[in-house]
């Protein structure tokens, strides 16, 4: 394994790890997204989906552990890269401009990443932990809709989901570039897929807290 560790510790190697884990996380988010959207079918459909996942037993746990591993690697390598990159430019410019209007997502990738990490922890504590260990007979549907009644919580969610969108809008096309796939014929498709994923996650996920907050206000 000597050569693989050596290759992956180079700057391009670390970027490759980021790209591979990033794409895996995007795939996970797509599955997560599809699962979440069963909520539009109402409480029964959503609860049925949740219990289907639960019914896989040990298999679900293995997937959870693998997923956690992918997250941890992505976070660790990302922070390591950010740290090293900051060291590579110790003194900043008095005036610093660019001919390219560099999009926010590319410039602040690690910062949006840290925000998403904070969001991930809160997300797991309020949904996953609450459902697994502190449910008191409540179904996940109940926990979710209860939380989204809270305007502060819902607003926080929406802001964080937009952050996820911003992170992914750079992440996807950046991963493709890291794999070395850059071709004038396909670049515009890669760009469009990146933007599509950003809107899918940013807006798509946000519709859930938006809907449940407003229906709870209206239904009072």
């Amino acid at each position: 394994m000597g050569w693989l560790t050596n290759s992956m510790s180079t700057s391009i190697g670390k970027k490759t790890i980021q790209a591979v884990t990033g794409i895996l996380l995007i795939l996970f988010l797509i599955v997560h997204f599809a699962g979440n959207y069963t909520i539009w079918g109402g409480e029964e459909t959503f609860t049925a989906y949740v219990s289907t996942l639960e019914s896989f037993g040990w298999f679900t746990h293995v997937i959870e552990i693998l997923l956690a591993l992918v997250f941890i690697i992505h976070i660790y390598v990302g922070l390591k890269l950010a740290w090293d990159n900051n060291k590579a430019k110790p003194q900043k410019y008095e005036v610093y401009k660019s001919n390219k209007l560099i999009d926010f997502s590319a410039r602040y990738t690690w910062q949006t990443g840290v925000l998403i990490l904070i969001f991930l922890i809160i997300h797991l504590l309020t949904f996953w932990y609450e459902f697994k260990f502190n449910a008191n007979g409540r179904e996940l549907y109940q926990i979710v809709t209860d939380w989204f009644r809270n305007p502060v919580y819902s607003l926080f969610y929406i802001l964080m989901l937009i952050t996820v969108g911003v992170h992914v809008s750079h992440g996807f096309k950046s991963a493709i570039q890291t794999f070395g796939w850059n071709h004038p014929k396909y670049n515009s498709w890669i760009e469009k897929t990146s933007t599509f994923l950003a809107w899918l996650f940013g807006l798509g996920f946000s519709l859930i807290p938006l809907y449940f907050y407003f229906t709870s206000v209206g239904g009072k």
């Binding site: 050596n6 008095e94 001919n99």
Partner: protein
């Protein structure tokens, strides 16, 4: 003829030595719009020397935009804001009367400041020496065009070979990454038949030399491409990424080559 000279305020980075603390010194200059930015500095230095003061240290050689020696960060842009223009080719007509111009050296941990606007770019030489060459057998020179190369491949190689190694990519990058430079040097050989014998060893060695030099890694902001005086494309970076990944998978006995 009416005097159409510009009246400028220059804020120039002064630093006595690599260890010294730097600062901005302000100069008021009256300059012809036909002068280049380096000619303006020549004028300023003549005046400073006449006054017995220390002139501003800066680098230049060909002053034709092809050698890559000059390089100043002008108002936050390496080589100034004019696209595809080296510092020496940037003329004062691109500035406005009364403007304040900041002149700073390229900033990167891998490019330590030697004096004022001069930085040490010898790390680029190290990278080039690590693999940026092709092997030839001795004997008479090979016939020109004896190896057929299609036009699009030749264009790719020549576009990459346009890189003058000035270091503006490192200066523009928020991570001080040298990926654009190294990828251009890898690409110009990797696409040509003449570059095949050392193809994978080259990219491996050059990336290793790049990492050892303390450059950051690429975050794909593409600020380098926007500031490059030769317009080197970031598609070269993608090519280097895939060449490197292929090399790591393919080269036998890689451990032996590792430093």
């Amino acid at each position: 003829m009416a005097n159409n000279h510009l009246h400028l305020t220059l804020k120039i980075w002064r630093q006595e030595s690599p260890e010294a603390k730097g600062y901005f010194e302000e100069f008021k200059e009256e300059v012809s719009p036909d002068a280049s930015i380096l000619e303006m500095l020549d004028d300023l230095n003549n005046r400073l020397e006449a006054e017995g003061k220390r002139p501003v240290a800066f680098e230049s050689d060909c002053r034709e935009g092809i050698c890559g020696t000059c390089g100043i960060v002008i108002n936050g842009h390496p080589h100034g804001s004019l696209p595809k223009t080296a510092t020496c080719q940037l003329h004062m007509r691109n500035f406005n009367d009364g403007e304040t111009i900041y002149l700073e050296p390229f900033r990167a941990a891998a490019f330590p400041i030697i004096k004022d606007l001069i930085v040490d770019r010898s790390k680029f030489d190290n990278i080039q020496q690590a693999g940026g060459y092709v092997s030839f057998n001795t004997g008479s020179a090979p016939d020109a065009n004896s190896i057929p190369i299609s036009k699009d491949i030749a264009d790719l190689a020549l576009d990459a070979a346009e890189c003058i190694g000035c270091g503006a990519c490192v200066a523009a990058c928020k991570n001080s990454s040298a990926m654009l430079f190294v990828s251009a040097k890898v690409s110009q050989f990797a696409v040509l038949p003449q570059g095949q014998p050392e193809r994978y060893e080259r990219v491996h060695e050059m990336v290793m030399a790049m990492d050892e030099s303390g450059f950051g890694s690429c975050t794909n902001t593409y600020a380098c491409e926007a500031e490059c005086p030769k317009g080197i494309s970031v598609s070269n970076i993608a090519r280097m990424n895939r060449e490197f990944l292929k090399a790591e998978i393919k080269i036998p006995k890689l451990e032996v080559k590792l430093r």
